[in-house]
Symmetry: C2
Subunit: 556 residues, 2 copies
Amino acid sequence: MTPQKNRLRVIPLGGLDEIGKNMTVLEYGNDMVVVDAGIMFPDDDHPGVDLILPDYSYILKRRDKLKGIVITHGHEDHTGALPYLLKDLGGTVPVLGTRLTLGIVRGKLEEHKLKKTKLREVSPGGHVNLGAFGFDFIPVNHSIPDGVALFIRTPVATILHTGDFKLDQTPIDGRLTDYAALAKAARQGVTLLMSDSTNAETPGHTSSEAVVGATLRDIFDRAEQRIIVASFSSHIHRVQQVCDAAVAAGRKVVVTGRSMVNNTRIARELGYLHIGDDDILDAYQMQDLPPEKVVVLSTGSQGEPLSALARIANGDHRTVSIEAGDTVVISATPVPGNEKAVSRVMNRLFKAGADVIHKGSARVHVSGHAASEELKLMLNLVQPRYFVPIHGETRHLHAHAKLAQAVGVPAENVFIMENGLCLEITESGAEVTERVDSGVTYVDGLSVGDLGQFVLRDRQVLASDGIALVIVAIDARDGQIAGDAELVTRGLVLGSDTDAVLDEARERVSKVLKRTAKEGVTDQAVVKQALRDSLGQFIWERTRRRPMIIPVVMEV
Amino acid sequence: MTPQKNRLRVIPLGGLDEIGKNMTVLEYGNDMVVVDAGIMFPDDDHPGVDLILPDYSYILKRRDKLKGIVITHGHEDHTGALPYLLKDLGGTVPVLGTRLTLGIVRGKLEEHKLKKTKLREVSPGGHVNLGAFGFDFIPVNHSIPDGVALFIRTPVATILHTGDFKLDQTPIDGRLTDYAALAKAARQGVTLLMSDSTNAETPGHTSSEAVVGATLRDIFDRAEQRIIVASFSSHIHRVQQVCDAAVAAGRKVVVTGRSMVNNTRIARELGYLHIGDDDILDAYQMQDLPPEKVVVLSTGSQGEPLSALARIANGDHRTVSIEAGDTVVISATPVPGNEKAVSRVMNRLFKAGADVIHKGSARVHVSGHAASEELKLMLNLVQPRYFVPIHGETRHLHAHAKLAQAVGVPAENVFIMENGLCLEITESGAEVTERVDSGVTYVDGLSVGDLGQFVLRDRQVLASDGIALVIVAIDARDGQIAGDAELVTRGLVLGSDTDAVLDEARERVSKVLKRTAKEGVTDQAVVKQALRDSLGQFIWERTRRRPMIIPVVMEV
């Protein structure tokens, strides 16, 4: 594709029809910028996969044009792919973001031993140019401090990209969404609005973060023993409210869980979290404190099996154990797919004698994303010509599209995009023109991108139906079978009389081998296929299972 | 345990700290009865498992005492274990239930080729004696018709077992929960209340099923093309409301999905579903009908991959396909664990051009279980001396226990039980006395009960980390290695240069074999362990994965 003047190309590489791995490419002439570089966490359809990255080969192929990567806020689904992308890019592309966002990014990059990166801090309300692109950073509220929307100017069009946002009228840090800046962008003219669709199906307004503080104070007032609060470690406003309620109740805050320790440290160093040194302790320092003087602030709000809260619930945390009468607050909502894991941890905590307070029983959590009425307000404030709902599954994008039409955006000006589709904007209008390379890249142990669908499919078969191996040795000199066939199964149930079934299977195998020998078959592939068919049929009859069958023919 | 007079034993074998496989044993003297015999559907922690049954060995060991199995309603989590239990019991134990319940049970038993069973119909409001036990069947509302609570009389105590229930003041079939019968039981004195905890965390009242009918009529009025409604096939009231709304809108009902076809047939035959023969069609008969004259009634409300709705969404249903402008109603809520599967189907339907209406966007579903205020009303109506919350995870049991205490049941009279615990009631009081055999039995293909934790654990390892096999042939005459070692891996990613890694792995293997040979090791177990250690270490270094490693040493 030759770069064309007077033509802005907008290509989401992730974040559409999914929750996670947000990434958008903007191109104009010889300049390219990337907004956000996030990861997605795998679900049960991806056994063994650690992380999912967007396939960003499109960016790598055009790396010479890349002027910078702009990050809207510090969450993993907007920053997590940065270490991989920066490694692959090789050179030092500048990464731009606000102070806390870059503080969190810096921590991530150091974990990946990436030190020579160019992090460029932009203050909220600030402006920065990257080639043909001008970026205004507009403060918005979200479940992490220092989040911004982006007003992006190009010679041919402007874009308002909301990042993740909500409109909190009483934010904890007093930092309101900058309505004046949004209105100013509208006055200058917004060609395209790209807006967060996560809660587009939720009616009304998302509650203010402040309501959680009131609930926490009530709970802390009533609690007579230890209090444990689990939350997202990056949710610094929530952490601040836990700290404030703890100090007000005369309790010390004890921090546990690696990411909670890291993020509270970063947030305090950068001035986003305020609590006196005497009031915040390491888990090792809590031994001398009576239970009624402690609030444990913990990771594990998603039921992650290795998290601090899960270890506490299972009774194998180094320093924190549950006593009957303790109070545990799950100050978060399960991300879709984590419901059962969270429930499991809650059940264990109840069994250990704790009272567990969660979103269903008290207002201990509010969302960080705008609901329908806020999304409509954003549309009305910004008055865009075109609209692309982003950050959401197809169902959310459709719900958001309906909201846009309800406030007067013509249906033909609303584009429900897919990852990899290119929206081109010129003076005369906008249209979807082509599909570029996009997709997913799996991180699996040390491997990035080597895991393909066939390995995943193998794992799924192994998980549901197990594996059966038949090993046959053949004398290299005369092609005769040497010794007995070995049969090994794993993950497969052969019924109550396993030995008898295995004996019968071995008989089948030797029959097959006698037959192929008699027929003069020498092609090992044919022998293997015959073994696979015969054994597969036999196991199906006996178990109604189709395990992976691997024939190994060894020449000895 | 010698049977004791004047002592009632209540033993839940399933349904506690879980949603599913409900089953309770009642024993008095030489008599035993079982209330419900349900299954649970496996989650992702149980790869390849088809069904989970309660371990009912306790019942089998006392089969001579068993006077009957009483079923409260026709849902799988109350009836699904019956075919297995009846097969294992051998003889013909009577199964008691209401008409529709037995109609559904009969279908299940026939699928399992169990024909010689003794099904004994009891009318709602009816009474039946089983040894020392007298049962009153009390009509209750639920998301399947003909559900009952049980008032159970024994010489020493009485039990009110609610089954699954809600208190619907405007039920579709006009059949109210029998408040008078509950009040009468209370007057006679209820020693123990066992009550449904599913929605104990939900504040307020569960809405009447009737609200769904009003929503469906609105949707059907507005829809201009085909309508597809997915629901639970056993939810005959819901099905009735879909049929009524369809007929009112001048549309024919087309039934698709095996269980939907079966259950609508049974319900019509037994007089629980009312729709004229001309108004209900088989999917094959719909070809001639214009889209605006059709409502497709389908299975698949839980996103089940092989269900009718999933096949429609994927474009591979035999007779139903989505056209842009079609309306799909998901008239159900995802059972915990199914959220992602349902979302996946919804996203596909949106992509195909349908408008998808679900619980989040309109009142197309209400729960079949009582919420907090109804549960408190039940407690106040029944006025039990002791209370055991049943049917729920530990979190729900605890929430229900709190409700009981809120309406005045003393904390010491509330028992939060576990599966297998025995509550003994005598004239002088109730106490938990012992723990009997209980647990889970996996149905895996044709095998019932042969699958153990170690096979499940194998499957989980296979799914997340794959498998590596090393096969070595040894000459039986001299113990020397014959031929090259074979290495086979599945579900494992060895990085971008797989061949090089495999070559290196083979080298490691031959080093190990040379070393053991040099050391004069002849014990194959020692050789295998050395291979496992060396290869495991090598693969961990290269991949950060710990696949299952199986060394096979063949003598040839």
